[in-house]
């Protein structure tokens, strides 16, 4: 417990300093609230709008988690295909890279036309934004096996699948988890893009769309929503870091403690 407190202390201090500087800047320059609300105004907006923010947050959190899961599943499957098949590598890799340059609004309309105003098109947008780091890191992880290892496994009569299952797959796990952490960091902004490019019919359209509609007239509430998104991204990142310690303790050992 004490160790945890000590571990978060530097971040907490830095955060306090930044918030203090922000508050001071607003007080000293008298900048308009519509342009930059003071931290205390943001905190007040968060408190007063907590019901709305919470409901919209749950919508967004669901999108991020499911979208990320989709990105992980599709990204690692694609990485395995590219790893195992030189043909798949030549055929798919350039397109994987190219997919990252597609401006989402261009396909947003089409996604809504195909799948309507529900959750699924948003998951697709998030997955499209997130899967790239998963693919790239997983491919590198799969290739990181010592080149002598497959020889050894072959003399132990391992099939291609067994060689993959005992050597390449576990070797790729830490890299894939690193990819997942990067994916998560872009996944939250991905949810914002998803919500603002594919409209929703639900009562609560998600924090991203809420922020966009607040940003002109309820600036403090837009900032409050942003604070929640930022906190969510940080929390998910460390949740994944903890998961890595459980799933791939050997890699944490090799690299030294994260956090």
């Amino acid at each position: 417990m004490r160790r945890t407190l000590l571990a978060v202390l530097p971040a907490a201090l830095l955060l306090a300093c930044l918030i203090g500087a922000w508050e001071l800047y607003v007080q000293l320059t008298g900048v308009e609230e519509a342009l930059l609300p003071a931290p205390h105004a943001v905190a007040a907006a968060l408190w007063h709008g907590r019901g709305l923010v919470a409901r919209n947050f749950l919508v967004t959190a669901e999108e991020v988690v499911l979208g990320l899961a989709l990105a992980l599943a599709a990204g690692s499957a694609l990485a395995v295909a590219i790893h195992l098949s030189p043909l798949a590598r030549r055929a798919a890799y350039p397109l994987v890279v190219g997919s990252q340059a597609v401006p989402i609004p261009v396909i947003g309309v089409l996604l809504v036309f195909w799948w309507g105003f529900g959750l699924f098109p948003k998951l697709l947008v998030i997955a499209l934004i997130c899967f790239f780091p998963v693919v790239v890191t997983t491919i590198d992880g799969l290739a990181s096996v010592d080149p002598e290892q497959p020889k050894l496994l072959r003399t132990l009569d391992a099939s291609r699948w067994q060689s993959f299952r005992f050597a390449e797959l576990p070797a790729a796990l830490p890299a894939a988890l690193s990819g997942a952490r990067i994916a998560l960091a872009v996944g939250v902004i991905g949810a914002f893009i998803a919500e603002t490019t594919t409209p929703s019919t639900g009562a609560y359209p998600g924090l991203g769309r809420e922020i966009l509609s607040d940003v002109n007239f309820q600036t403090a509430r837009a900032y409050a929503g942003t604070v929640v998104l930022v906190a969510f991204a940080i929390a998910c990142f460390y949740a994944l870091t903890l998961a890595e310690r459980k799933l791939a303790p050997w890699s944490v050992r090799e690299r030294g403690e994260p956090l």
Partner: protein, 260 residues
């Protein structure tokens, strides 16, 4: 009474007599960088009878690793005949999988042969004490010393259940004290679990201490320049006069190969 390693994971087809290796006039060439071809082996002829320990010594880059990969079926000769019973490789580096415990690493071949994890672990655990690994079953590879890692790697090789063991510089990365301990350990283990062994090393003394016969390879392209029978009693002491005399003979053959 040492545990017997029966039944073998996979019965070996008797292609060249159980445990025998026979190479005659084997050539192997690689396409090197920039298309230049590198001749690794030029007419190597070797033979090992079942149960025999054959050591191959030679300078670095004389094609020793190529020789082992040929015997293990990882490569095919360009020319010449190669007959060999199924062989398993113990590579120079232990290549223990960092995500498996010592016991799971040792049991790897058994799991590959289709045994369930629990059964494979039981079979491997039965040999842990015999190989001086008692108490290290659940250790992670990074917690083991170099010598212990080689023991685990050797047990993994043994449990593959193949008649021929190919050992590639098994103790090359160890410090001198650990290496001589491990040489004694390997001699003792082979006395209890006899196998046909092809031991590749650059350590002439190691070859003489462990092998029944020592083949001396010339630098690339490798050929056999001398074959020495090691006919004295085990266990052998590295300080005994006959070991020293034979070592001089092998070193002279090595030096001669280099000049040729």
């Amino acid at each position: 009474m040492p545990t017997q390693l029966q039944p073998l994971a996979k019965p070996a087809p008797a292609r060249a007599g159980r445990g025998a290796i026979r190479l005659s006039d084997v050539h192997r060439e690689y396409r090197g960088a920039r298309g230049a071809s590198v001749q690794a082996l030029a007419g190597v002829s070797l033979e090992a009878a079942a149960g025999e320990v054959l050591a191959v010594v030679g300078p670095s880059g004389c094609g020793k690793t190529t020789l082992l990969e040929l015997v293990c079926g990882l490569q095919a000769p360009d020319r010449g005949a190669l007959e060999c019973a199924p062989a398993v490789l113990m590579p120079q580096r232990d290549l223990l999988l960092p995500w498996l415990s010592a016991l799971d690493n040792a049991a790897l071949a058994l799991r590959i042969s289709g045994l369930r994890r629990a059964a494979a672990r039981r079979r491997a655990a039965a040999l842990f004490a015999e190989l001086g690994l008692e108490g290290f079953q659940d250790a992670q590879p990074h917690e083991l010393s170099g010598g212990m890692r080689q023991r685990v790697a050797f047990l993994r090789t043994l449990l593959a259940g193949k008649p021929v063991l190919c050992l590639d510089e098994p103790f090359g990365a160890l410090d001198a004290i650990t290496r001589s301990e491990m040489q004694e350990w390997l001699a003792g283990t082979l006395a209890r679990e006899p196998r046909t062994v092809l031991l590749v090393t650059h350590d002439v003394e190691e070859a003489i201490l462990l092998a029944d016969r020592v083949a001396v390879l010339s630098p690339r392209p490798g050929t056999v320049v001398a074959e020495l029978a090691v006919e004295f009693e085990r266990p052998r002491a590295r300080t005994s006069a006959e070991v020293i005399a034979l070592r001089e003979q092998a070193l002279a053959a090595l030096a001669g190969g280099r000049c040729a």
